[in-house]
């Protein structure tokens, strides 16, 4: 039987200070043009925590707004405030920067993170109120150090500063004097990814209604690499985050594939469970500091606030078939192969049409497609257009070409089978997976019968190949009951038949 999606989590962390100090658009500008007007404008264009919480796409990401509801909100969204917006949603939360820095310190096992005493004292209580933060995590939060000590690390030892409200409140030190792979910059990037993955794991376990001890394997699918000069991408973010999250029975490994990695990882997890290797596997990922404010220059130029001010994270719990939850159908996998080529028709053909052909299905037979779910509020002002819509147009066009859809129905196809994007532009985070949580609920409620998750990856960015990559899978309603019926006689029925035959035999003996 297929493995199932038992639950999912989606978390955001509002990190405005990291936009300025760690986003590559800003750090590059500081090197190339340190006196630039843009850098001066950034602090004024950052949103407050309350503004980030009341932002419609963020509320959609954490599960307080259905994507269909978001689609009804007048575009653009950056100037609309959602009334009644909440920090917490059914999938996760939007954690404020100050609490997150404490979680980062608690996630650090090598004492490279230092926070100022007063800062820790001011915010520890708030972190303790978070429903998923455990006593064990709180116990790991140190009392803190004097600001002078932090200043010394930043000014004299190349530590990365940690800022809140523009003020220095801590630092991430280098974990090695010479090794660039353990530099303060890399340690900062990796610890932010790890800590946001921890938060996603904690919510995923809660949302799936399982025990932490049930998790046997974790797959991390972020885009960072951890290791030292002898094994630059050695890993293992998955086990490192599982340790902090208290998943004591789990081991794990990292899957990488640029933005396609989450979809690769879910397929791998589903296969591990279906094969019987592990009963419960969690796919997880934290966020990416480098991408904060990635399109900031365009946003500022057009008078928008800097919308890329949150780290994103997600986790999906995959278990053995429970007879209820939606299944991942491993018989319908799409894959862009080495020989597929790069023509858009070939790409969409390999990811969408080929797996459907194998199952005897047509493109309109899938109720919802989830390709790249980037929030168009972020991408349109930056000139990248509406990415989900561009993908839906290509899928619809292929359906028309294959004679499965009338040309006149194309515009309607993008609405009926598509979704409006809501995910932050955190690379791997918006790629296919943001819809899994919503799809699980919509399938359980009977609103849709199936959905295709499509992950795409820009492998060429690593300069190892010019190839693009992508994989896809289909989620559909649970078929355990149906499978049982189709498999013929059940165990109970066999027992019943034997009992009946025995009775008849006994009756025959008595009659004689």
């Amino acid at each position: 039987m297929n493995s199932v999606i038992k639950g999912a989590s989606y978390i955001l962390v509002h990190t405005p200070d990291m936009v300025l100090y760690n986003g590559t658009t800003q750090t590059t500008e500081r090197i190339v043009n340190p006196e630039s007007e843009y850098l001066k404008e950034v602090p004024e264009k950052l949103r407050s925590y309350e503004e980030a919480v009341s932002y419609w796409p963020n509320q959609t990401y954490i599960g307080n707004v259905h994507p269909e509801e978001l689609a009804e909100v007048e575009f653009p969204w950056y100037d609309k405030k959602m009334e009644g917006a909440d920090r917490y949603g059914k999938f996760g939360e939007i954690m404020p920067e100050e609490e997150f820095l404490l979680l980062v310190q608690a996630s650090d096992m090598f004492e490279v993170v230092r926070l100022e005493k007063g800062f820790v004292a001011a915010h520890k209580e708030a972190l303790a109120k978070d429903p998923v933060i455990t006593e064990e995590i709180l116990e790991r939060v140190h009392e803190g150090v004097e600001l002078s000590e932090i200043e010394q690390f930043v000014n004299e030892e190349h530590a990365e500063g940690l800022y809140f409200d523009g003020k220095l409140v801590g630092c991430v030190k280098a974990a090695h004097d010479i090794d660039q792979n353990l530099s303060a910059h890399v340690m900062h990037e990796n610890l932010m990814s790890k800590a946001s993955s921890v938060l996603a794991l904690l919510y995923a376990v809660r949302n799936a209604g399982i025990k932490k001890e049930d998790v046997e394997y974790v797959i991390d699918c972020a885009e960072e690499a951890c290791g030292d000069m002898n094994q630059r991408g050695g890993g293992n973010f998955a086990k490192a985050a599982a340790e902090v999250a208290g998943l004591v029975n789990a081991t794990g490994s990292d899957a990488r594939g640029f933005c396609a990695a989450p979809t690769h990882a879910v397929i791998e997890a589903a296969a591990l469970v279906k094969s019987g290797a592990y009963k419960t596997v969690v796919v997880t990922s934290g966020g990416c500091t480098a991408k904060l404010g990635m399109n900031g220059k365009d946003h500022v130029k057009k008078g928008l606030p800097i919308l890329e001010d949150c780290l994103g994270g997600f986790a999906v719990v995959i278990t053995e078939n429970d007879g209820v939850s939606p299944e991942i159908d491993l018989g319908m996998l799409g894959r862009h192969t080495v020989g597929t080529g790069s023509a858009p028709q070939a790409v969409i053909g390999s990811l969408v049409a080929d797996p459907l052909d194998r199952a005897g299905m047509k493109i309109p037979d899938i109720d919802k497609y989830s390709p790249e779910m980037q929030n168009p509020d972020i991408t349109k002002p930056a000139g990248a257009g509406d990415v989900p819509l561009a993908n839906y147009k290509m899928i619809g066009a292929l359906a028309v070409k294959r004679g499965e859809l009338d040309r006149k129905e194309l515009a309607d196809f993008t609405k009926k089978h598509g979704l409006t994007g809501w995910a932050p532009t955190q690379g791997h985070i918006p790629s296919g997976v943001p819809y899994i949580g919503v799809a699980r609920e919509d399938i359980l409620e009977g609103k849709i019968k199936n959905a295709m998750i499509i992950g795409k990856g820009s492998l060429f960015l690593g300069r190892m190949t010019n190839l693009f990559d992508g994989v896809s899978f289909v989620i559909h309603g649970n078929t355990a009951e149906q499978e049982k019926k189709e498999s013929g006689v059940s165990e109970e029925e066999v027992k019943g038949l034997i009992a009946k035959a025995m009775k008849e035999f006994a009756a025959a003996l008595l009659a004689e």
Binding site: S342, A343, N466, F468
Partner: protein, 43 residues
């Protein structure tokens, strides 16, 4: 198509649009010489 004939062409494709190699193939058939082609990811 003549606009590309005997011209040197720099191709920048889009991951979610038309990728570089696909544009490069079109340029070649139109008589252009591709001096650089890449695909970029804008998200």
């Amino acid at each position: 198509m003549a606009i590309l004939e005997n011209k040197k062409v720099i191709v920048i494709g889009d991951r979610d649009g038309i990728p570089g190699p696909a544009i490069a193939e079109c340029v070649k058939t139109a008589g252009g010489e591709v001096v650089f082609a890449s695909t970029e990811c804008f998200v």
